[in-house]
Subunit: 118 residues, 4 copies
């Protein structure tokens, strides 16, 4: 399966939505759709972590689908507002790298993490 980039994902979904007369939903409605998906993710994680007895066959397959649904709804909102998620993500990684680097305990350098992101 192709290794899709964030830019391509945004383009593919934009083209798909533009096939329809309805186009993008209003932002508050796209947001509500995202909240619905986050709610389904919550149910699955609560079941996987052992607190809420699963209703049906809740498992990692569903989790894969829910995460995809959230990502889809996130991309729709980004597309609507012409936001480039590639820039968003790179900036957020940079932000955490600057802000949190002294907030947690860095592992001591070992062979195993030499090749990590610097």
């Amino acid at each position: 399966m192709k290794d899709i980039s964030l830019k391509e994902a945004q383009k593919v979904i934009d083209s798909w939505i533009n096939k329809f007369e309805e186009g993008y939903w209003p932002p508050l409605s796209m947001l509500a759709a995202m909240v619905e998906e986050v709610g389904e993710l919550s149910r699955i994680i609560n079941a996987l972590e052992g607190y809420k007895k699963p209703k049906e066959d809740e498992n990692l397959v569903n989790l894969e689908e829910e995460l995809g649904d959230i990502l889809f709804s996130l991309i729709c909102i980004a597309n609507y507002y012409k936001i480039d998620l590639n820039t968003s993500l790179i900036n957020v990684i940079r932000k955490y790298n600057n802000r949190d680097i002294h907030r947690w305990t860095l592992k001591r350098k070992t062979e195993g993490n030499k090749k990590q992101m610097s």
Copy 2:
């Protein structure tokens, strides 16, 4: 700025988190962090759409950051459960394509959308 793929994004964030002794948070805590970010997105969209008076300088810059934060938290949860978001997203696009293609009104073919996703 580099055109990052979902696979690369998952790897970069995994390497970053593995720098720290603490590693990934427990799933319910990562979920709560995502819900916090979705809450901030809600505040901004409500302000942009005109219902809730913004507290400060809420605008599209903040929106870019919030979407990045949600994406980051989504990738953390996916990494924790070893889920490939590339597969998730491709499957979700396929699902919507099969399920919703007759649910909405397809535009009539015009020059403008000939090159769209098929």
Copy 3:
């Protein structure tokens, strides 16, 4: 049907949960349960407001149930942390009354709203 007070509601639910060996779930799990219910509310409101085609017979009956589920999960969290929702609510009304009284446009006094909260 009895006109239940917030204090009574908290007591009844506390007694009910204390019937079980399991007792209250950990807070992050109760929170995830609330998020699940908020997600279901989102789905119903999106359907009622006309953007998302309802899956089944989504209507005001379901809305009544979802609001009850959210209230239940809210009371569980309040009980766990020994928070009195009566005080919470009275303070929040006071806060909005002080903060927002000049934020919106007050109606001009007419016969119709003389008997309102002062």
Copy 4:
């Protein structure tokens, strides 16, 4: 402080909102406001439970306020759709009592829980 009932709470808030020309926000906007508050609750619970370092003086005082904010937003949505939360809550307690009574482990009768809800 007065022991407020759900019915009274709905009435007080309805009177307060009816003081303003703007009245109730559209449902999707009230929902987004609720999601914002649930996001703030998430942040506080994550801080209290020890995973996310608190930004400021996050504590039980804030928790009381956040729960009040969520309850307020819940009542606004209920009022808008003319839903009686008293009925909602009584039905949800009944539902859990019927559905979950054999799902969890009942404590064996002891002096201590004789007076509990039956």
